[in-house]
């Protein structure tokens, strides 16, 4: 995992205790994602990576996994994200 993915994993690990989250693991299928996490996740992505999540980015697939969030960050900041590893 690159630094972006490590930071995303660290943030999500607060909500997925005792679970070693894999980069491409579907966080929705783990059952801990709810509206409390949703806005915190948006705020985290914006503050941590200096990007703005907009209405057009509201797609569950953009937030489905560490890799997906990393891809979103890369797109928003104009860089390419590394593949899951």
């Amino acid at each position: 995992m690159d630094q972006t993915q490590i930071k995303i994993k660290e943030f999500l690990s607060r909500f997925f205790k005792n679970h070693d989250l894999k980069p491409d693991e579907d966080i929705f299928s783990l059952g801990f994602v709810n509206s409390l996490l949703a806005m915190q996740l948006v705020a985290f992505v914006e503050k941590e990576f200096g990007v703005r999540v907009e209405d057009a980015d509201l797609d569950l697939d953009n937030f489905r996994s560490v890799q997906a969030i990393s891809n979103l960050v890369a797109r928003k900041s104009g860089a390419a994200a590394p593949a899951a590893s």
């Binding site: 943030f11 509206s35 409390l36 705020a43």
Partner: protein, 377 residues
């Protein structure tokens, strides 16, 4: 760590306080009895730059920092909770558009909301859905390049005068937000009167009978109405209600200090009775604690901290309970006078109770907060 307000924030506080003392507080009791705010007040608030303060400068707003915004709502809440609630719901709509509105919505609506040309209202609650936002029954059916909205909304603050409603629906079976203009055919609004508190908040019930809105009125995306649009608006609302609650508690404390020094029983001011001092001490400490929680939440919101959502909820939970307790004790200190509308604490008592219910009841927050990951100290 520096917990002091900046010189600019102190100046703003003095400004807000002088305005409220001159133009709001003297009329609050009458507005409460009349169950309405005067139309000129919206214009006056807009002239002062108090509407849509959450709108950033690059979107045509004043871009007020969150601490100053908190001070503004505290000072308004100290003078008149109904006036504070106008800002609360108006700014919730502004915040939802700032956060999740389309570029066109931002460009066309935000300047009009900031100028007070239009008043916004937040239409979530229904006869059968309150705390459980996902239980809303109002529907939005696609129809060509539009959606047809049908349902009922109840307890909508300032529905009697609002021009633009942020309405939450089920669209394709998923929570979805739309903007609904007042003059849309099929929309009827019935005033709700006889409320316990914030009686001048001009609540209404909306009958939405096949109201056709353009597809461009969708806010965010289908399915994100609760998780993102409601969440963003309610975080704004909770912060406003938290700070407004501090204002109520401070007003209760001010009135109690003043009254207890004037009122004599057993040959001395009641201020000199130990049990009264105990009540005053609790009020002093709790008001200060609630204000600090608000400032912390405001600071975290200002800096975009992901945990601001949880901290704002904590501030609202505590400040609203403090307001209710302080207003109850203020009535107790005032005795029979506190039960009369001739004394403002009677209104504060009624208004404070409302704060424990709106923008997430105390019990909902007790259910939710233990699930947050609060940072360790």
């Amino acid at each position: 760590m520096n917990l002091e307000l900046t010189a600019e924030q102190r100046r703003a506080r003095d400004d807000f306080r002088a305005f409220v003392a001159a133009e709001i507080a003297p009329h609050a009791g009458r507005w409460d009895r009349e169950e309405a705010l005067p139309p000129a007040l919206v214009r006056r608030l807009a002239e002062r730059g108090y509407l849509g303060t959450v709108v950033p400068k690059d979107l045509g707003g004043p871009g007020m920092d969150m601490i100053t915004y908190g001070i503004l709502t505290e000072e308004l809440g100290r003078g008149c909770s109904s006036t504070r609630s106008l800002l609360t719901v108006h700014d919730m709509v502004c915040q939802a558009i700032v956060r999740w509105g389309s570029r066109a919505q931002k460009e066309t609506l935000l300047p009009r909301l900031v100028s007070g040309e239009i008043v916004g209202a937040f239409a979530l609650s229904e006869p059968g859905a309150g705390s459980d936002a996902k239980g809303i029954a109002t529907t939005a059916e696609p129809d060509g390049d539009a959606y047809v909205l049908t349902g009922r909304k109840r307890w909508i603050t300032f529905a009697q005068i609002a021009d633009l409603f942020l309405v939450f629906t089920q669209c394709e079976g998923k929570p979805t937000a739309f903007l609904l203009e007042r003059d849309t055919p099929g929309l009827a609004i019935e005033p709700i009167r006889g409320l316990l508190g914030t009686r001048a908040s001009m609540l209404g019930e909306m009958a939405i009978d096949r109201c056709r809105v353009p597809a461009d009125n969708l806010v965010g995306r289908i399915g994100f109405g609760v998780s993102h649009v409601v969440a963003a608006a309610l975080e704004q609302g909770r912060y406003s209600v938290a700070c407004g609650s501090v204002g109520i508690a401070q007003a209760a404390l001010d009135a109690s200090l003043s009254y207890s020094r004037e009122r004599a029983q057993f040959d001395k001011p009641i201020f000199d009775h130990q049990l009264i001092r105990a009540l005053l001490t609790d009020m002093i400490v709790q008001v200060r604690a609630a204000r600090l929680l608000c400032y912390r939440a405001g600071w975290m919101r200002e800096t975009g901290d992901p945990l601001a959502f949880a901290e704002t909820m904590a501030a609202k939970y505590y400040a609203s309970t403090v307001a209710a307790r302080a207003a109850t004790d203020a009535v107790q200190i005032h005795g029979a006078n506190g039960c009369s509308e001739a004394f403002p604490v009677e209104r504060l008592f009624r208004d404070a109770k409302v704060m424990e219910i709106i923008e997430g009841s105390t019990q909902i927050q007790q259910m939710v907060m233990p699930r947050f990951e609060f940072p360790d100290f």
